[in-house]
Symmetry: C2
Subunit: 307 residues, 2 copies
Amino acid sequence: MSDRGKRMHQFFLELQGRITEALAGADGAGGFRTDAWDRPEGGGGRSMVLAEGRHIEKCAVHTSCVFGRMPPGFGAEMPGKGSSFFATGISLIAHPRSAHAPTVHMNFRYLEKGDGEDARAWFGGGADLTPWVLYEEDAIHFHQVWKTALDRHPVFPYARSKKWCDEYFHLPHRGETRGIGGIFFDYLGVPDDPRGTPSDPDATERMVIDCGSSFLDAYMPILDKRKAAPSTEDERTWQLHRRGRYVEFNLLYDRGTIFGLKTHGRVESILASLPNLVAWSYGHEAQRGPEKELVEALRTPRDWIPL
Amino acid sequence: MSDRGKRMHQFFLELQGRITEALAGADGAGGFRTDAWDRPEGGGGRSMVLAEGRHIEKCAVHTSCVFGRMPPGFGAEMPGKGSSFFATGISLIAHPRSAHAPTVHMNFRYLEKGDGEDARAWFGGGADLTPWVLYEEDAIHFHQVWKTALDRHPVFPYARSKKWCDEYFHLPHRGETRGIGGIFFDYLGVPDDPRGTPSDPDATERMVIDCGSSFLDAYMPILDKRKAAPSTEDERTWQLHRRGRYVEFNLLYDRGTIFGLKTHGRVESILASLPNLVAWSYGHEAQRGPEKELVEALRTPRDWIPL
């Protein structure tokens, strides 16, 4: 395990502790259940899940640190030649109860792959916000925090990261983004790959640590402002149906979910991202003004702050 | 359009009418909403959906007849060289309200693909039953009807069809089948493909018509027997969670769903198969005896009738 790998894993564990403490505090009732798990081939992880809280219906915060050799046929599309790999990361999805409080996702990771001279190391990650009722001030705040964090480092510009996020969290069959976006980046530190960015590893590490540490600033003020807002029956119905789109994205397109399931990852941890209650109705469409306004924002991604 | 193609399309339309009439009758309250749709490139379909009935929470019965040329990159793995194609079929999924009444799926189809001498034509289809509470007599009845239908024709043996069904409706990440099985076959009539069976086309047409016509015999006695059985809160919770597995199968593995979404099929029709209300909880496991009994049957598929 490289020094950077060890440092990142320690950071993710510490961040997991900070975030779950803040979320449990904001909920006020529910606590996180912690499951440590081992990967027989090397490494393991710590899954923390809060279920049926007062304000949070479901929230999963996972960290993992896994290593070994990729099974044949996997990882061919990743940078670095050879089957050795090391990966550590944190991932989070929170589904609040109120239809006025947005669902949020965040994931940051550090990977090493390949053998000897052909080994490559890179950072990836992102965060996106999925509201059911669109509050422009929330979208602006969320984006502003990430822009401020990325602007502090000469690594990857917010504008590219924002665009990549809109492109990645996209449901082609619906012609919609999953939410109002945020940031997304990958292969930071890989110089010789068409998808890569030849960033300085130390600067990139500082940036990713800064991003992870920015999550609470990006999300908690929104959660605190919206969590106690009661939902009408119409708003709850809308929320459950929009959660269906979240499930569609995660099971049809999300690379992490599909990769995890196909490589025999821990199923309960991977699918802990799915909302606890979801609805699908035939031909269910936006009816009221706020519903139509949200769909419009998902069909035509906006620049929430000046690029 | 070939004579056989025309005949099959007419049969599927007529079958759709018969089945929706019987299901609406069994429900006693809900009626089917019918949407006819056109495919700009050729053909179209008729979607019929019953929502929020008395006994049926959601049921979709679709027929379609589409033709033209496959877009580049699609259909390469199908029999027949060339891009011309014709496809007609019926598909059905019904989600009853009572946790004691099983969800059912049925799909039969006839396809032609390729140009000139390289054209191939084949039949495919199947039916499977997904109970939330296992009644062995229902599983035996369901399988017996399909066996009787297949046994009437020298085309494809029930034993192979039953096995293929268990293999196809399987969630590898859960180590479970979707339900207690039924029948599945494909490429019937294709002599020169490793997946194909060189069956006589006229005999196969008679068999598929017989299968389609057997659906009501296979399912209606079960629905009628179970539909009014009240569900306890525990049983409802279990049903909603098991429906999550249904969604996982359809979005992660079902060839028809994924192919439909990727080829820009009619999204509302394709996803009308999803249950109207679904739950996922972290680490939700079978608690009570009947729940454990069901999971056991899904982990180790049984021969419900002598092979």
